[in-house]
Amino acid sequence: MTCATLVLRNLGRRPGRTLLTLASVSLSLFLFVGLRAVVTSMERVAADSAGQLRLVVHQKTTMTTLLPLRMGRQIREMNGVRAVCGVRWFGGRIENSPEQFPSLAAETLSFPRVYSDFDLSADELEAWHRTRNAAVVGSGLARRMHWRPGQRVALRSTVPPYLTLEFQVIGVTEAAAYPNLFVLRLDYLLDALHEETETSADYDNAVNFFWVKADSSANLERVRTAIDARYAASPHATRTEPEEAFVAQFTKMFGDLPTIANAVGTIVIAAVLLVVLNTMSIAIRERTGELSLLKALGYSRRRIFALVLSESALLGLVGGLIGCLVPYLVFSRSASAGLRIPYFPVITISLATAVTGIGAGVLVGLLSGLAPAWRVARLPVTTALRSV
């Protein structure tokens, strides 16, 4: 028999109580890890886009006010700019489908240059240029909808004038940052708008924002200020941001998610700490006599302390393994195995996140065992043996 045997048997004493505690530990840690994963996935996308040397230019006060296409050509002429791609929000949905995903119309020629990280093949590129109603879609969206290249898809816009357009999927991108994106050609959308409505050319030849690709990271900041300076006095005053900041701002439209996620994660950990503390306090109170008996036999305070602490740490560890390792094994492998939420990057659980969760479990176990362990280790033997 080893001390580990005693620790395990003690946990097996009230299997119901141990299981309930384990369940709350693992559920809480699952929530904790899930929230961490959301935050880290968003940070990863932001970090990825930082490497893309992209700036986004939108109207100074709102992102919905349109900017004329010719501004794109002017920006293209500026020093340090490699490519510019005008983008218009389409907001398409499949009729009678609850599925939501972002759909954007991008300028045909510059799209592959600005979005080189889409990694389109030569064949796909050729099809993109040749097919007027071409569409490139994210791998997650394609998988959910069972779309393959060549597939015809009709989308109805959710913004006026509520056009319904038919597209042909010519490529599926595996890029992890765009799992749900639907990209169509801007010329196709603008022509359709022009045919459909009597609106002014201002409306037809305009976009929501421009993606600007700089030629080097050294030029990024200079280009950013130069663009805003150029239009500061014009009716189309702009605000230019690095893509990273834009992505962050975009996700902020869904609430200040990272902060909330971190706060909720911390509260969850604190709550489960109280649960384990409660369990350990009851368990140790029940066993005060036995532990004092061990002291009478010659077990030192340190041993008693370690015995109690190992028990609570084990609770935390097992809870952590269930709550973190299981979801890690399910959601970690690849972007395609990740969890999908509309408008969000793919959420994957990294090993680091899982290990953080398990570590949090052990820490919770240790911390919550501290007080009961301390109390029973210091109790005089005679008091305890007399009271049982």
Binding site: R13, E290, G298, Y299, L385
Partner: protein, 252 residues
């Protein structure tokens, strides 16, 4: 028990001719709020090695208190408590803990076995504090359980044993480390007459055949009569009634 001694008896060896227990001018009181209750005052006591002492006295007279002092579970307010060569009043809490693991075995009225451990594992608990191989531990445990007549119950948990059997497991646990002194606080208090007799008999065997020094608190005159000497504690005074001092080895 045919096992090598666990502890090399160090300083005690040189004083082998000294009594095992020497109490000089011992005082012990408890505080209840502002009131001080003197339980033992100016107590002197000498117990020679190998004696089987029964300690009697009315409830509340301080028998358990005395036993706790002898076993290093509690400390005296003043005086000298010399047991097995060490003055316990001079030891720190940690030193007393180690001292206990080497020098005393305890038997309690309520057995105090750990319910999730088998009889053998309960007996093994004190041995785990010594540097000793698993195999050697097993061997000693088997011998001890055999001696208390429970060889066939080694794998049973306390809940599967009768009260008498539980107390016999507790006795095996008390002498497994081969301590010089065994302290028993009303070991038969919760047992019926037949089981009580078995337990007292077992303690007698430990005293006569292995030479353990035993101090047993009891209210049962029949159990007390098994001892080589009776001590009465009343109002803080220890007395040995006439005719209760019997020659060693002539018990019962």
């Amino acid at each position: 028990m045919a096992v090598a001694p666990l502890v090399s008896h160090g300083s005690d060896e040189t004083a082998a001719d000294r009594p095992l227990i020497e109490l000089v001018d011992v005082c012990k009181s408890y505080r209840k709020g502002k009131i001080r209750i003197n339980v033992l005052s100016n107590l002197d006591l000498t117990i020679e090695r190998g004696r089987f002492i029964s300690l009697l006295g009315p409830s509340g007279s301080g028998k358990s208190t005395l036993l706790n002092l002898l076993g290093g579970l509690d400390t005296a307010d003043s005086g000298v408590v010399r047991v097995a060569g060490d003055d316990l009043t001079q030891l720190s809490e940690e030193q007393r803990t180690t001292w206990r693991s080497r020098n005393v075995g305890f038997v309690f009225q309520q057995y105090h076995l750990i319910p999730v451990l088998s009889a053998a594992e309960n007996v093994e608990m004190p041995l785990r504090l010594f540097r000793m191989g698993r195999r050697e531990r097993r061997r000693r445990v088997a011998l001890a359980l055999d001696l208390v007549g429970l060889a066939d119950r080694a794998a049973h948990r306390p809940g599967q044993l009768s009260s008498g059997q539980e107390q016999r497991v507790a006795i095996a646990r008390a002498f497994i480390t081969d301590p010089k002194l065994i302290l028993a606080d009303e070991p038969t208090g919760d047992l019926d007459a037949e089981n009580a007799e078995q337990i007292t008999e077992l303690l007698g065997v430990l005293s006569r055949e292995i030479g353990k020094t035993i101090v047993m608190v009891t209210h049962d005159p029949r159990a007390a009569a098994c001892a080589s000497r009776e001590l009465h504690l009343d109002k803080g005074v220890l007395t040995t009634p006439r005719g209760t001092r019997r020659p060693l080895g002539k018990v019962r």
